[in-house]
Symmetry: C2
Subunit: 357 residues, 2 copies
């Protein structure tokens, strides 16, 4: 029996609904599958925690998480309680950086049974690999002068190491997929960081001669996600560009509520973290309306990362099944509650095992 | 008779086709309308010019343009001849900055007869107001260390003056439209420049109490362009965010080939510049395939800016007419050549005048 320790942080808003929902499904999957076990420890870190303790997580929070095999996160942020830049940097980004999760991976694909906003989604199926540790999200910058003369300066910091790591990850992923990498650039407008990005891309691609490549400016690329997403295989982008492209990718699927993400530690020193793309949506919190599929697909990515490929595949089948059956929440055009979706997934998993024997 | 002097720069690639095409139409419109005149002077500044002179435009280029009432630009760039960051900064961005064209305005709307990539475009009709002089496109930055340790730093520079100017422009535009402004931010991830952007937005909006507002993070906003563009009225964004959103906006219309742009000098010291959103597409240059509608709609924006509202309206009607009739190029799903589209527009304009008398 393979055993894994998982740190579970439900966080804020609907995170508090979809994380427990995902755990119910994972526990069912465990039972059905019978060959792996996830040992969960819950951490209450959130905006509520902040209001009590003045921080989003304890000072030794990272060391509390360090020994786990993975971190399973819901959603962070509730601007009516804590300003976003405090809550997100104090928890989400703190873990991403503290645990050197240099890569953020987000899939986007068409599902049978989901209505894409696109007239012709053409079975698109793409992966975005996002540099997750630096770039446009830096803590280097400041302000000067005051009143009408005030200026703000923000430094974008790109290191060869981090850029290369993201690109290598993308190329290796493309080797196992359709063999193509698109690089999101903007070297025609952003004249220091982006030509550097292009240079590293040109250097890295030499090592993968069998992979097709294209460098595309972020403006044209964002448009191409809308007009021909089926042409993309793996897309590699900076922290900001990856962020933008993955929200578009999520929207193309039918709802941001379904999209998962993996924050990968590639040096093996710290756990990786799995979190859906959607936010905490405090406006619908506690109404049973939250779409649990993003958190479930996130769980699927975690299982794959842990090496539990069979469980991951079964869970993906379950997700596809309930979508095809139309048992989905309002954001996906259905009228099921969070509970009903979870039940349908559990039923599928249980019937799967019955069919097997 | 109102007379205007126009500096015309066809530039590179299909710019050399669509600019002359637009001039044919403008001259027909002039004749038909009978109450205004555009005096054109052509400037050959382009990548070809660079190969001969080592610069994209002469050293005194800006002063050569300064006395004109407007600059009418085609497209700049041909990376097989000159690297993009040289051609674009040497001409396009040089004029934008030299002439203090702080605002870039780009409309996006559904057209009867055009197939949007969206299943339900819902008659969307929005305007993006882009800060056009600073932000992420700065010449401040550099590199340090070498080999595997190399880093590149790019400064984003935001001044209260420029941000405020863009926002004021957006609010004033919203007053004449549906009364709503969306601000593109990313203050949850980009922690110096974007909170500053938000602060200025909150300050400016106080002066327009009758205008509805929303601040939305660029990732969610890019997704919202895809899922509900009809909810947008005026959107204000930084140089980069405006760039990305307007390419998405162009794609939503059916082709980037149709989208126009105005680079507005708001202090009245220098001419404004009008250029389509599409690039120079050197791959299809000289084949008569280029879509002239982007350049024509750009001409329409120029006429409006000059105060020739009647001519602008007639030209817009002509554009709508040929689109409805399906006389459009391949990128819009038709099979007309550049020449055939131009002819159809001219015929419409001529018949218009015949109907009038
Ligand atoms: C060519 C490039 C520098 C330019 C920009 O990003 O400003 C273009 O994309 C545009 O939007 O006009
Ligand atoms: C909340 C925000 C800081 C975050 C980001 O931009 O990284 C989110 O949009 C995401 O993509 O995970």
């Amino acid at each position: 029996m393979n055993t894994y320790t998982i740190a579970s942080i439900a966080g804020d808003g609907i995170g508090k609904e979809v994380v427990p929902a995902a755990w119910r499904v994972l526990k069912t999957l465990e039972r059905v599958q019978g060959d792996f076990e996830l040992r969960v420890t819950d951490f209450p870190w959130s905006c509520d925690y902040y209001l009590e303790h003045g921080r989003m997580m304890p000072e030794d929070g990272l060391s509390q998480l360090e020994a786990f095999d993975a971190v399973f996160l819901g959603a962070v942020g509730n601007p009516s309680l804590v300003p976003d830049h405090i809550s997100l940097w104090g928890l989400l980004i703190n873990i991403r950086r503290g645990f050197e999760q240099q890569i953020n991976v987000r899939p986007s694909r068409q599902f049978e049974g989901l209505t894409s906003p696109l007239a012709n989604p053409n079975q698109f199926n793409l992966m975005v690999v996002r540099e997750n540790s630096e770039g446009e999200y830096s803590e280097v910058g400041g302000r000067m002068y005051s009143g009408e003369d005030e200026i703000a300066i923000q430094n974008n910091v790109f290191s060869k190491k981090a850029v290369k790591a993201a690109m290598d990850y993308a190329f290796q992923m493309a080797e196992a997929r359709k063999g193509h990498v698109t690089s999101a650039t903007k070297s025609n407008g952003i004249v220091f960081s982006m030509p550097f990005w292009d240079e590293v891309f040109n250097e890295v691609k030499e090592r993968y001669p069998e992979i097709g490549t294209k460098a595309e400016h972020i403006d044209a690329l964002a448009a191409a996600f809308v007009t021909k997403p089926e042409k993309m295989d793996v897309v590699v982008g900076s922290n900001l560009f990856g962020d933008i492209l993955t929200d578009i990718g999520a929207a193309l699927m039918g709802s941001i509520g379904i999209a998962p993400a993996a924050n990968i530690n590639i040096n093996g020193k710290y756990p990786s973290m799995f979190e859906p793309v959607h936010g905490s949506a405090p406006d619908i919190e506690g109404q049973g309306l939250a779409n649990p599929l993003g958190q479930l697909w996130t769980a699927q990515m975690m299982l794959e990362h842990l090496g539990e490929n069979k469980a991951a595949q079964t869970l993906m089948n379950a997700i596809e099944h309930v979508i095809k059956d139309g048992i989905v929440t309002k954001d996906l055009g259905g009228n099921a509650s969070t509970e009903e979706v979870v039940k349908a997934v559990e039923e599928y998993l249980t019937s799967e095992i019955e069919n097997r024997y």
